[in-house]
Amino acid sequence: MDNGATMHLAVSLFPGAADGSPGSEPEFDRLAQLVQKAEAAELDMVVIADSAPAPAGDAVSRQAPFEATTLLAALATVTSRIGLVAGASTIGHQPYNLARRFASLDIISHGRAGWNATMAQAPREAANFSRSEGFSPDDFRRRTDEYIGIVQGLWQGWDADALLFDKSGGRFHDPEKMHLLDHKGEFFSVQGPLNVARSPQDTPLLVLSGLSEPDMDIAARTADVILLDDGPIDGAKARHDNLKRRVAVNGRAPDAVKVLTTIAPITDGRPTISADRLAGQFQSKGCDGFNIRMPMQPAALDDFIDLVLPELQRRGLFRESYRGTTLRSHLGLAGGGDQ
């Protein structure tokens, strides 16, 4: 466990926005270089945004060549330490399929995968998934809550020591250590178990974002990381305290959930973020760290890594090196064998 003295840092990447000049390196190579750079800087994780289709009018709605979970798998093979969190829709996937995808990604990445689920309904998404009417906000909330419970339940269907690999005895796994989920709910019915082994970090990370006030309890009960939009700095501490209180009410240690504030660089011409701003909000206990939404220019990451990080490290506010190999270990969260 960490002692909370240093902040956690994520960068959000929009694959469609990674660019650059036509005819240069393949798109994947450029993205991989960005993530490798973030890894060299010891950042906790990259968050690969995804929506289908991209919100109209959004600055990142250029055609992206990749869907986030497939991109995560590919990035996992060209990195070794940094956490990889991909957005994936609760409307676009059935919970069994999505749980399986992320469990698999976690094994591929040796315990560095996370799922970024949003509580916000994407405006046009349902229309592409045979749900042209969408869901009412309340239905969407209850459905997402149930969905998350199924996914997390499926992730725990195999005990950590379930696989025996006993060739001569003919026992591949211990039948007592595989558990049906047997979920029958309002929106879904899922028997389980998952046909993917247990995660190297026990369960992949659940990152929740897009929260409105009524979603806070769901997040406090289920999330490992909560991404909150930036707000006035003087309200941040109260918001953070409120969330941690809800976490405790749900029987979890306050430190079992990390709250990261999403910030965007000030794009006054060159994108910049000031170390003072991050230090101020972190030291006033407004959050456990930051999720930096990288703008179009890859140079923004260079600036952040070359200028801001050394300053944070000089002040003892960010780690000098990874201590473990899993995403949970970077974040100081329990789970897996790598603490």
Partner: protein
């Protein structure tokens, strides 16, 4: 391509610890295949070095076997989800095609089209989708409580699914509003590097064949004898004209499970070694699942297969097994053992020359355009095929010595869609 230079297509069918049900118990099999990505990367590189057209992954969204006591004696209850697996392989290989199974029963076309197109971009135009409908009640229980849908309904949904996916890949306009699906927007990804990912199909029933004749680029099938393979080949190619397609627009690649060694005796010994590792209850359970009946174990194991009710599951595979049991007069135990080796696929045990002879006969006899190779265990039997059989096929001019193009469509000699 002229007849003289026609070359066979080869897929390397990667699956768990191997295609033989007891593969994982083989002393040299990599027992942790289902949790070791590096193992799969190595297999894909072996296949690529041998110039295979593609690696192929099967899929099911659930356990293979409901009886947990049986399931725990096999290695198939856990493994990688294949689309994430192939996405990882995409950047760890450079030429070989990457084909994954995905079901039309429990996905939505917009999401699946987008995911495969993303895999296609990651791989520079080497992705393919093997369209299946899901026939297993175990899978059905993971997607609602209404049970398995009838065969005809599954195929009607599959037909519409394929139409939407190919429409989206071809950049087609949006606004599909059909029986099973509605989709509003075009995909938010650029066009595929190979025009569109390759469409593979595996169903061999009558409706399955029609769907394949209409939409498939590659057909994967199971056939035991030359006659069965030839009849399927001619029937499927014969159906294509009705959809305005040329016979060569589809490559038919039956599964083949070779056990190859330097000598025939050694190959037979290798095969027997694996057969001896099959527990009877595991063999009977596997056979039952493919026959879509649940109580085969009630019948005397050394007696004949009982009369079976018509299946809502895998119709064509049931017929194939029943036909074989009657033809060869096999008991349940014998049939189960035989079936467990390759799940009803064609098996060849022998030297490289013998295996090549058999493949050549079906290829030149107009019963196959190539083969999906199903090694009995990994990595050993894939290595054996790559180092013994592939060079023999190359010497005979039946298989490429190097890749000529970059994309899976290039390898397969398929037209790029307009």
């Amino acid at each position: 391509m002229t007849a003289a230079s026609r070359q066979m297509k080869l897929g390397a069918f990667l699956w768990a610890t191997g295609h033989h049900i007891a593969a994982w118990r083989h002393p040299k099999a990599h027992v942790m295949a289902g949790v070791d990505i590096d193992h799969y990367i190595q297999l894909a590189r072996t296949a690529e070095a041998a110039k295979f057209d593609m690696v192929f992954c099967e899929d099911a969204a659930g356990l293979r076997e409901a009886n947990v006591g049986i399931a725990s004696q096999t290695s198939r209850s856990i493994g990688f989800e294949p689309i994430s697996l192939l996405s990882a392989l995409a950047v760890q290989t450079s030429r070989i095609g990457l084909v994954s199974t995905a079901s039309t029963s429990y996905n939505e076309p917009y999401g699946l089209a987008r995911t495969f197109l993303s895999l296609d971009h990651l791989s520079g135009g080497r992705a393919g989708w093997n369209l299946v409908t899901s026939a297993s009640p175990i899978e059905a229980a993971n997607f609602g409580s209404t049970g398995l849908k009838p065969h005809a309904d599954r195929y009607e949904r599959a037909r519409e699914f394929a139409e939407v996916v190919t429409g989206l890949w071809h950049g087609g306009a949006s606004g599909h509003d059909g029986q099973s699906f509605s989709v509003r927007d075009p995909l938010d990804l650029p066009r595929s590097p190979q025009g569109a990912p390759v469409m593979v199909q595996a169903g061999a029933s009558d409706v399955g064949r029609d769907l394949a004749a209409r939409t498939a680029d590659v057909v994967f099938t199971a056939a035991q004898t030359f006659e069965e393979a030839k009849a399927f080949y001619d029937d499927l190619k014969g159906r294509m004209a009705a959809y305005g397609r040329e016979p060569d627009d589809i490559k038919i690649m039956p599964g083949v499970a070779p056990v190859v060694a330097e000598t025939e005796a050694e190959a037979r010994e290798k095969h027997e070694e694996l057969q001896e590792l099959i527990p009877d209850d595991v063999g009977v359970a596997l056979l039952s699942s493919y026959l879509s009946i649940s109580d085969l174990w009630r019948y005397p194991i050394d007696g004949p297969l009982p009369e079976l009710p018509e299946s809502e599951g895998m119709k064509s595979r049931q017929a194939l097994v029943v036909e074989q049991s009657r033809r060869d007069g096999l008991s349940i135990r014998q049939l189960a053992r035989h079936f467990a080796g390759a799940r009803g696929h064609w098996r060849i045990v022998g030297t490289a020359a013998q295996v090549a002879d058999e493949l050549q006969a079906r290829f030149e006899g107009g019963a196959a355009d190539g083969f999906n190779v199903m090694p009995s265990w990994f990595p050993g039997e894939l290595d054996a095929f790559a180092t013994l059989v592939v060079p023999e096929l190359q010497r005979r001019g039946l298989f490429r010595r190097d890749y000529e193009g970059r994309t899976l469509r290039d390898h397969l000699g398929l037209k790029r869609p307009a």
